[in-house]
């Protein structure tokens, strides 16, 4: 009897010791990837990420390391077909990498289940598409309020900021010069492309997500509107402390960002892409 319980206690002690060592090891690893604890920790951290679409011979994405700091405005450039959309889907947790880790806000989103990744995206990530951002059967305000229907966190933050979700939506729209009475009431299908993109931006910003991903949001705008849109987007991101990952093939926008990344530079050459094979 006695003997047995002592054995059990020993086993327990052994287990706790193992656990302690595991935690220490984890801390050591974290410290090695974050050279100094005083440096701002990266909001997004990719390491050894590989992703291949089913049936593809080589991985579409093969990134050894990529980090985006909190509050940074990053410009991500690459030719079409270079896997930009795939990378954004990985960042947003719509896709999970086959190997490597995608860490956003300290969470390894590749390790989360599908439903948890969807919840994580709803809570922390705003998204703007190139076009067709709006749900045609919802009003402008309903479109903007949409993320608050899927995320309790963003809903709470919108309520804190605006009083009601609708008021917060109107506030954001007015910051984006979209709050004219006529505009709010108009069906979204009658809005111009520029107006639609601003509604999409308001939707991505509502409830202050930590990360905003924009997939060529300005490619359908003319130069004047493009700059006005960027200016408004930057202002809102800065005031809410939102990190921005902005994808475009338009190099002329590059100077306005903190940092520019050329996708081909960070994604390893794949053997079936001829121009890379030559280089």
């Amino acid at each position: 009897m006695n003997c047995g319980s002592a054995w059990a206690r020993d086993g327990h002690r052994e287990k706790r010791k193992e656990e302690r060592e595991k935690v220490i090891e984890q801390l050591r690893r974290t410290l090695s990837t974050h050279p100094s604890p005083l440096m701002p920790s990266p909001l997004v951290q990719l390491s050894n990420v590989r992703f291949s679409w089913p049936g593809a011979v080589s991985p579409t994405i093969d990134i050894a390391s990529l980090a985006v700091s909190t509050g940074e405005r990053v410009f991500l450039r690459g030719p079409s077909g270079s896997g930009k959309s795939t990378l954004l889907s990985l960042l947003a947790g719509v896709l999970a990498p086959q190997s490597g880790t995608v860490t956003v806000l300290g969470t390894d989103i590749g390790a989360l289940g599908g439903a948890a990744r969807d919840r994580f995206r709803a809570d922390h990530i705003g998204f703007i598409f190139q076009m067709f951002n709006l749900i045609p059967y919802l009003s402008v305000v309903e479109n903007v309020c949409l993320p608050c229907g899927f995320s309790a966190g963003r809903r709470a933050r919108a309520l804190q900021s605006g009083g009601t979700v609708e008021k917060e939506a109107v506030r954001l729209l007015s910051h984006l010069d979209m709050a004219g009475e006529g505009l709010l009431r108009r069906p979204v299908t009658e809005l111009s492309v520029g107006q639609q993109q601003r509604v999409a931006a308001a939707r991505a910003l509502i409830g202050a997500p930590q990360l905003l991903i924009a997939d060529e949001p300005t490619s359908s705008l003319d130069a004047d509107r493009r700059n006005a849109f960027l200016e408004l987007l930057f202002k809102e991101c800065a005031s809410a402390g939102i990190t921005l990952v902005f994808v475009s093939h338009d190099a002329s926008l590059e100077p306005q960002f903190d940092r520019a990344i050329f996708l081909a530079d960070i994604s390893r050459p794949s053997p079936d892409a001829p121009h890379r094979a030559a280089a």
């Binding site: 889907s89 919840r119 067709f132 045609p136 059967y137």
Partner: protein
């Protein structure tokens, strides 16, 4: 969230949605309508003979005897002799009998010669007796009691005088004008052929026919002889008679005794058994109607499937947007499935509404034209089960587009493909 999105999405496509709902509603209406008429006609027929143990007539097919003597469909081929009736009626197992004499009509309504036993013993529905709505029971041989439909359609009231025509039919050239009857009572509505019948006494019918015979043949001697033998005395023949037994267990023995009656070939029919034979005859038609209406339901739901599937390709980018704001693939699945279920349920609700509107407005027509008495009541368990099956089928069909969009949203991720 998803429910309100589904609702707003449907509102946006309200024209297609309305057409889908309409086609499902009509299909459900047809399915339930066919079932309702089948069920109600059986109920109505069964209610008419509910209190009768045996029906006896001259030798013929049971179905024919039942239809002609009780439901007034077609004409009896032969009469049976009064003394045969008397002999069977006086058997110890017999509780009551009602003699029936058919063959004449009044403005399209059958004239039935019978006795006071008719008003005393006839039962319909769940053991219900005939009630007088107006007037009183007949006493003299010139008295007539009319059913509720006859009174309503021809606007007869007690005190009116009516003339009976020979042979059943709307128009007859042989009128018994010398022998008019006087309406002295109107029966309360029963929902059975009683409502469409003019009831007179057996004696009255006999006297009328003898007068006519005397008149047409202009033979005073024959007329005098017939009058002598007939008037006030017993009739010579009747069409059929209904039998109530003291104990239902005696019915088989009694039926055999009648069928083996030696002095005249007779047929005894258990009304319920004969009705079953009728339903076996009409069963094939009912099955065909049911199959057709089931196919219409399939077509209606197929229309919904087509409408949902065609909407999917243009909605793929909508799904990508929903995914980007945090919708799970399962929620996207639920969005499309919810639309299918919503459309089906609304179709069923409208179908039932159309059915009831149709039943209420069509009830008088069915009654006067087809003699079908539809009771507008709550849906039966079977009808509810049918509706449940349609709803289930709608949900299962909704799985097809829901599954497709689920696959899309997993495969597309957030990339927008057009």
């Amino acid at each position: 969230m998803i429910a309100s999105l589904a609702f707003k999405s449907l509102r946006n496509r309200r024209f297609t949605a309305a057409l889908t709902i309409l086609s499902i509603a009509l299909a459900v209406f047809l399915l339930l309508g066919v079932e309702r008429i089948r069920h109600e006609s059986r109920e109505s027929f069964a209610a008419t003979v509910s209190g009768t143990d045996l029906l006896v007539g001259a030798r013929s097919s049971p179905v024919h005897l039942l239809l002609s003597a009780v439901f007034h469909i077609g004409n009896a081929t032969n009469n049976l002799r009064w003394d045969s009736y008397k002999a069977i009626a006086s058997r110890p197992e017999v509780a009551w009998t009602i003699p029936l004499s058919l063959g004449d009509s009044h403005r399209g309504y059958r004239v039935l010669g019978t006795t006071a036993d008719y008003y005393e013993h006839l039962r319909y529905g769940r053991d219900r007796r005939l009630q007088m709505a107006q007037g009183r029971l007949p006493e003299g041989e010139h008295d007539a009691v009319i059913g509720a439909d006859v009174a309503d359609t021809l606007h007869y009231r007690p005190g009116d005088s009516i003339v009976v025509a020979h042979c059943a039919g709307d128009v007859s050239f042989s009128l018994h004008e010398q022998h008019p009857f006087k309406v002295i009572g109107v029966l309360a509505r029963t929902g059975t052929p009683v409502d469409r019948t003019v009831h007179v006494s057996l004696q009255g019918l006999d006297v009328m026919h003898e007068d006519a015979a005397a008149d047409s043949e202009s033979d005073p001697l024959l007329a005098a002889m017939q009058a002598d033998s007939g008037s006030g005395a017993e009739p010579r023949a009747i069409t059929a008679f209904l039998v109530g037994l003291k104990s239902r267990s005696a019915v088989l023995g009694m039926q055999r005794a009648v069928n083996e009656y030696e002095r005249e070939p007779l047929t005894a029919v258990m009304p319920g058994v004969a009705l079953q034979e009728v339903w076996e005859i009409t069963g094939a038609v009912e099955k065909t109607l049911f199959a057709v209406s089931t196919l219409v339901v399939v077509v209606g739901l197929g229309g919904m499937l087509v409408a949902l599937l065609t909407s999917l390709s243009e909605r793929r980018r909508e799904m990508a947007v929903l995914r980007s704001v945090g919708a799970r693939p399962s929620q996207i699945f639920g969005l499309i499935l919810g639309e299918a279920v919503f459309l089906t349920l609304l179709g069923i609700v409208f179908g039932v509404m159309v059915l009831y509107a149709g039943l209420i407005t069509g009830q008088p027509w069915l009654e006067s034209r087809l003699g079908l008495f539809i009771v507008v009541g709550w849906p039966t368990a079977y009808e509810v089960a049918l509706m449940g099956l349609v709803a289930l089928a709608g949900g299962l069909i909704g799985l097809v587009p829901a599954w497709r969009i689920y696959r899309y949203s997993l495969a597309d991720g957030m990339s927008i493909r057009i």
